[in-house]
């Protein structure tokens, strides 16, 4: 694994716009960054990222199977009691999942270490599946990177393919919140994939969803929503006013309710408890668990529901050395062994490993200049070179 400086395409902004990639620059800060790329060997990709991703997904299923049968685990994961049966039912009825992203610290030397699993609302999908791919094609064509370079990126094929196999019929409603160009870009891409998978896709804002007298969710045209892809976290659905209608509605959600158990930092101590010593897992404990003393006084503290690094704290030798602001934490915390991201010339890459229908489907790398990958991270393309 190497970080290689490369020449940006001189027309990349126009290319981005032409491909509907409007959030390449966010709040005047560069987000898409092709001034460098990461280069992997095929062995690194397959042995160190792809295989562990598939394997950890299976371990996650064991965690879900345990959680749905154990109220104590549901409680530790912060799932409101009113949703225990609902979550369990979505699992026992095998509601299909579409996608997820495992975030790994990987330096090409030791095993990739799972930082967390964004199993519910992962973003950076479009730039991973489409724009990174376009970059590779053009970069080869223009001699920016060597002929024969490849990329671990079957995301687009996997997404369009899985939509045709999810047992969906008619209209898929695709929703995100208002006021986020990045999220709009992501759901617009999801809708595009759904259409290519043979579905009719209709976009709606989360805030505009209605409900009818029979407890069915409705769109702005008062059409019932049968299947809803929502780029909106389950923990918010559960506490929203309409949440109480969710367990009894006929509307089917993607991601399904059981993903709330995985997109939860509580997954990490559960994985460690059940599969302690697994090379791709970091020691992790629920905050307050006496066993957490095994971590000593150097560890990372994360809220159960935190996104994009919010409220993450790093303690080294008992001193808090990093603290990210945010509004999470009331739901509880976990402690995880401190495993700094690798340092490539002052840049700290996080490898996001994609799953589509629970199969590994590619990676996307976000790089930050701080050890906690947050809102200012940039997306860098990658290549496989032999």
């Amino acid at each position: 694994m190497e970080r290689i400086s490369v020449e940006p395409r001189d027309d990349w902004r126009d290319t981005a716009e032409a491909h509907g990639f409007r959030f390449h620059t966010i709040d005047d800060e560069r987000y898409w960054d092709e001034s460098a790329c990461y280069s992997f060997t095929l062995r690194e990709i397959e042995d160190d990222i792809e295989d562990p991703t598939a394997e950890i997904e299976q371990l996650c299923f064991e965690v879900v199977a345990r959680a749905v049968a154990d109220d104590a685990v549901m409680t530790r994961l912060g799932i409101p009691e009113a949703f225990w049966d609902f979550v369990a039912d979505t699992w026992s009825q095998q509601h299909r999942n579409l996608y997820g992203r495992m975030d790994f610290a990987y330096d090409g030397k030791g095993p990739a270490k799972l930082f967390e699993y964004n199993a519910d609302t992962p973003t950076s999908l479009y730039e991973s599946g489409v724009f990174q791919w376009v970059w590779l094609e053009q970069a080869i064509e223009r001699g920016i990177i060597p002929d024969g370079s490849d990329q671990f990126n079957s995301l687009h094929e996997a997404l369009t393919g899985s939509f045709s196999q999810m047992g969906l019929a008619g209209t898929l409603h695709v929703a995100c919140c208002k006021d986020s160009e990045e999220d709009e870009g992501t759901v617009e891409y999801i809708a595009d994939c759904a259409r290519q998978g043979g579905l009719d896709a209709k976009l709606i804002y989360i805030e505009d969803i209605g409900i009818d007298t029979e407890g069915r969710f409705t769109d702005l045209q008062d059409e019932p929503i049968n299947d809803l892809f929502k780029l909106y976290p389950w923990e918010w659905i559960m506490t929203d006013e309409f949440g109480k209608n969710v367990p009894n509605t006929n509307t089917r959600f993607i991601e399904p309710g059981w993903k709330a158990l995985l997109s939860n930092k509580g997954l990490l101590p559960l994985l460690w408890e059940m599969f302690e010593g697994h090379p791709n897992l970091l020691p992790a404990y629920f905050d307050g668990d006496p066993a957490a003393s095994a971590l000593g006084d150097t560890y990372v503290r994360k809220p159960l529901f935190s996104r994009e690094g919010a409220n993450v704290e790093v303690f080294e030798n008992g001193e808090r050395t990093v603290s990210v602001e945010g509004d999470y934490g009331a739901e509880g915390h976990i402690l995880q062994a401190y495993h700094p991201l690798p340092n490539f010339g002052g840049n700290y890459p996080m490898v996001g490993s994609w799953l589509v229908a629970s199969q590994p489907a590619g990676i996307g790398i976000r790089e930050d200049t701080s050890l906690v990958t947050g809102n200012n991270a940039r997306f860098l393309p990658h290549i496989i070179s032999e």
């Binding site: 919140c177 986020s180 595009d192 259409r195 007298t213 059409e223 780029l231 909106y232 929203d240 994009e308």
Partner: protein, 180 residues
């Protein structure tokens, strides 16, 4: 090869959540705030009253419905909402905006007489008449031409009794994505 053989987008790059606006056929119609306005434009009192009554009947069915008056007023303005005859499944009150005007069907085109349509005005745009399913129709009363779909009575596929029950989680500052 570890990558997709091809990547094709069918719709991206066009307007975002705005569904592609096709050019739609227009029909002639007229908008009124009252029966008097209607007769003042030369229609017979009988036509005007019949249309008004029809619009009022449709109003009950097609007006957006809310379970909280405050939510209705947030969308349509204070004192701009009334109690709807419907009840929620648990017996609670249902609210809907007042009819701000009405639109004749397609009678002006000489075709089959369409149903009188109730019109509304939202709180943040008091100058535009809108149908019950929020299609902007016109900014002034009187004769005008509108998209054919706007003259059709909103289909009551189902009845939405409340909106806005999702999204509270997103009302927090400092966030560029609600995913992650």
């Amino acid at each position: 090869m570890k990558r997709s053989k091809s990547v094709r987008l069918v719709a991206m790059g066009t307007g975002l959540l705005l569904v592609a606006a096709c050019e739609e056929a227009k029909v002639d119609t007229a908008l009124f705030e009252s029966v008097q306005q209607c007769t003042g434009l030369g229609f017979t009192a009988q036509e005007c009253e019949a249309n008004y009554r029809e619009a009022q009947r449709n109003h009950v069915n097609v007006a957006p419905k809310y379970t909280a008056k405050a939510d209705c007023e947030a969308d349509f303005g204070s004192t701009q909402c009334e109690v709807a005859p419907q009840r929620t499944s648990s017996g609670g009150s249902v609210f809907m905006p007042l009819m701000a005007g009405y639109m004749m069907g397609s009678m002006l085109s000489g075709g089959r007489r369409g149903a009188g349509q109730p019109l509304y005005k939202s709180a943040n745009d008091r100058s535009t008449f809108r149908t019950g399913d929020n299609k902007a129709v016109a900014k002034t009363t009187g004769r005008t031409s509108v998209a054919r779909s706007a003259t059709q009575t909103a289909s009551a596929k189902t009845r939405t009794v409340s909106r806005g029950g999702f999204g509270a989680g997103a009302r927090s500052p400092m966030r560029r994505s609600f995913g992650g």
